[in-house]
């Protein structure tokens, strides 16, 4: 399934950044794991896995992102 940046964390017209990925691409994750921290202005919010499976990171940390953007997949 697609992992997108929730617009509750980052509105669709707002630029933020992935501060840090807590997992590497290719690692197994479990629903409920905190995958990453998303930075909006100076506030960091945790991004939680909504499914279990193998994580594929599509957007690396420290890259500008917009709310709603696809940043990873869990298969």
């Amino acid at each position: 399934m697609d992992v997108t940046v929730p617009i509750e964390i980052l509105p669709a017209d707002t630029e933020g950044a992935i501060s840090v990925w807590l997992f590497k691409s290719g690692e197994a994750v479990v629903e409920g794991d905190v995958l990453a921290e998303i930075m909006n202005q100076k506030a960091a919010t945790e991004l939680v896995a909504s499914a279990s499976g193998r994580l594929t990171i599509l957007v690396p940390a420290e890259t500008a992102i917009m709310g709603g953007q696809l940043i990873a997949r869990i298969d």
């Binding site: 992935i18 840090v20 807590l22 994750v29 921290e37 930075m39 940390a61």
Partner: protein, 355 residues
Amino acid sequence: MSSSEANVLEPSMAVASRAKTARRLTIARAMSEAIAQCMAEDASVLVIGEDIAKLGGVFGTTQGLLQKFGPERVRDTPISETAFIGAGVGLAAAGMRPIVELMFVDFFGVCMDAIYNLAAKQSYFSGGNVRCPMVLMTSVGGGYGDAGQHSQCLYATFAHMPGLKVVVPSNAYDAKGLLRAAIYDDNPVVFMFHKALQGMGWLGTVPGSVTPVPEEAYTIPIGEAVVIKEGSDVTLAAWGLGVHQATEAAEELSGAGVSAEVLDLRTLAPLDRNTLLDSVARTGRLVVVDDDYRSCGVAAEIIASVCESADVKLRSPPRRITFPDVPIPFAPEMERPLLPDAQKIVDAVRAMLGT
């Protein structure tokens, strides 16, 4: 956790296997959690500093504390290190356990009397009757173009002074356990966290600093180094960011048939000379990684300690990979070549071994 990652950063812990993936934290979150747990247990623990309350710390060290504990115990201060670090020393003398954040270690000048002449000495001067259970937490390190007044490490400046303890964690697991030890220590502890490891996004986070961190409270004793990778040809002694560079170098050297041992000192004062000497006695060679200035640095102290030991027979002259004795440049293309990195460590070891 993959086996290769376990080699890189399996801190001194035994995380019980559990159905859910072990929770991982950045150093920033691990520090915030350690403080929150101590504050919940002990009403004398409080936090003061610039931007530590409403913002949660410029480096994320105090996230969520204002909301949990309120402005009485989590207090933003004016931009006067002289005033609020002096206040921290006073609070400690009066029986509190203050945690004071000096945003950048580079700002130490205006508060050094409180640190050097009061915090470090009042226990001695009073025959132990006035203690200083204060934590001074402060960011160190460069590598992101912040120039000469926001990029220094200054480990030696603090490790030099009797009466101060100095801690420099390399990963989130150690940061949480060491900060708890620092908060409950009756002596002043300077807790130096490296900006490149903090997990704040805008500073470039070294992935190895993010580790599984148990939710329950635990303590890592101050003054104990740990061998994080065993080896037989050379000891790479490091702390903070240098641990990750040494680990990367050890992996590259392994491909060339060189077995490097990586030592994470974790604490610079008191320095765990036993673990250091034991390691170098086995390998006979030493390279120290220190991103502070070269002359009169902690790397020099480590090398001197090894050379003074009658039990260690060195097979090669020891080496140190350090920042040269110049102010830190702003321009990244000027700063970067001056900083320690894995390649410099590899080159030093290969020159030492003649390979």
